[in-house]
């Protein structure tokens, strides 16, 4: 079974959902992306044989994050329409997005981000709402919003603060610098690093391993199954 949107593709293979951010090369998260992502998630709730979700990016990168120009145009014109033809303004757009991310997090099946290449801004925020983050040794992370005189808009500050502590969050969010997979592991922001060609495959294998009797509250314990 597979679903094809403009910006995302979704395929169910042996009960594992492969969700791919599908606007290469940078897989920018546009207004259409968020609208489709929301729509897709809504549909997943009723997909009975879905046992896990693995999120990755098409091509070399996970995602370079939101399309800033488009975001700012929401402020200027306030008359953008999403792919469903609905008018969106920035505030309700963001509110819908964080609710979507929260509902992704609330799923009772494993949700794993398989990250290769660039994972920035709201792309990184999406990964932070997944239950597990696997990444390639080439992965590059960052929340660059403050360098544009903005702040992370979909929970980035809170999430990093929970995983890495307040001091590190303060530094990463204000500094806005990019950092490596190894640093991300040290900051407790990713769970595991693999050779980049194996990331998606390892995430799928891991998903298979833990789907039976998955208990989200004890998610981190499942990592012990990985040697």
């Amino acid at each position: 079974m597979s679903l094809k949107y403009k910006t995302i593709s979704f395929e169910l293979v042996h009960d594992i959902g492969h969700l791919i951010l599908d606007q290469p090369p940078s897989n920018k998260m546009t207004i259409d992306f968020f609208s489709e992502f929301h729509h897709l998630l809504d549909g997943l709730h009723s997909m009975e044989n879905l046992k896990a979700i693995v999120i990755s990016g098409r091509g070399r990168h996970f995602s370079a994050g939101a399309d800033l120009d488009q975001l700012l145009s929401l402020v200027r014109h306030e008359s953008q329409k999403d792919s469903g033809g609905e008018t969106v303004d920035l505030s309700s757009f963001l509110e819908k997005n964080y609710k979507t991310f929260l509902s992704l997090e609330a799923l009772n099946i494993p949700v794993i981000a398989a990250i290769r290449g660039v994972c920035l801004g709201s792309g990184f925020e999406l990964a932070l709402f997944c239950h597990f983050r696997f990444c390639g040794e080439d992965a590059l992370f960052g929340l660059p919003e403050s360098t544009y005189n903005l702040i992370p808009g979909i929970g980035g500050t809170s999430k990093v603060s929970v995983f890495s502590g307040k001091s590190k969050a303060l530094e990463l969010v204000l500094h806005g610098n990019t950092f490596s997979a190894e640093d991300a592991l040290g900051f407790n922001l990713v769970d595991k690093i693999f050779p980049k060609k194996q990331v998606v495959e390892m995430a799928i294998g891991f998903a298979r391993m833990i789907t039976t009797s998955y208990n989200k509250e004890k998610a981190k314990l499942y990592l012990n199954k990985l040697l």
């Binding site: 403050s146 005189n149 903005l150 808009g153 500050t157 530094e171 969010v173």
Partner: protein, 251 residues
């Protein structure tokens, strides 16, 4: 440069540098080691974007001088008042909406450590030493040190450090999550300064305030509420950024 109560204050490139200055040990004469109002005024008028707290010479601070403390204790009401003032100052620093770094070299004991724990980041020398020696004198930390330590370190670590009263080195301090960076002794101040510059240069004061606020929110609000607030702040900043871009286009 200002001087009050054995503290020096100067502002360099929008970074305020607060130096505990009664070397060699930089003992604190009173719990309120610098006036809140003075700090408030400086931050506002000089548009300070970040603060470094450090000690003059080789040490951060040895804390309160025992003799002074017992002298102060003769008048219990006065002592209570002094401690309340000190606590208000430390709360003020902890809840500042600009980042504060403690640059720690040498000794960082007692009230000195309590000050360091209010900072948002601690940059430590390889030779830094930390202790809450109060229990050796049948006292406990008096300026919120127990609470602030236990927010970072585990319960057993906190208990051990405060009840045993022993010194710990940076390695142990790092394990207790109270040393964020460890750098060579001669680089502590420069490192702290350039870190603050990287975090604040080119950022509007509002962005800095909002990042600080978003972080405070994670402590007090539920995830959902914190995210709602974040959205509100993001929209406000985005409107301003959009307007700036519009103006640039018009020009």
């Amino acid at each position: 440069m200002e001087r009050s109560k054995n503290v020096e204050w100067e502002v360099k490139n929008s970074i305020g540098i607060l130096t505990l200055s009664s070397p060699p040990e930089n003992y604190l004469m009173e719990p309120e080691f610098i006036g809140i109002e003075f700090l408030q005024n400086q931050i506002r008028h000089e548009k300070v974007k970040g603060i470094i707290i450090c000690g003059a010479g080789r040490h951060f601070s040895g804390g309160a001088k025992l003799d002074d403390l017992f002298q102060m204790a003769k008048d219990r009401d006065n002592m209570t008042r002094q401690l309340e003032k000190g606590k208000a100052l430390l709360d003020y620093i902890e809840y500042l909406d600009i980042p504060v770094i403690a640059a720690i070299r040498g000794v960082c004991f007692g009230a000195g450590l309590e000050i360091a724990l209010t900072a948002h980041l601690r940059v430590c020398s390889e030779n830094a030493l930390f202790a809450f020696p109060e229990s050796n004198y049948s006292l406990i930390p008096g300026l919120g040190g127990t609470e602030r330590l236990s927010e970072k370190a585990s319960f057993p670590q906190t208990l051990k450090m405060i009840l045993k009263g022993d010194m710990i080195d940076v390695k142990e301090a790092r394990e207790m999550k109270i040393a964020d960076y460890i750098v060579p002794d001669s680089e502590v101040l420069d490192f702290s300064f350039s870190l603050l510059i990287k975090m604040t240069e080119g950022r509007s004061l509002k962005v800095i305030h909002y990042v600080m606020l978003a972080l405070m929110n994670t402590k007090h609000l539920s995830m959902q509420e914190a995210m709602k607030e974040e959205t509100r702040m993001f929209c406000e900043l985005a409107s301003e950024e959009a307007e700036r871009r519009n103006n640039n286009q018009d020009n």
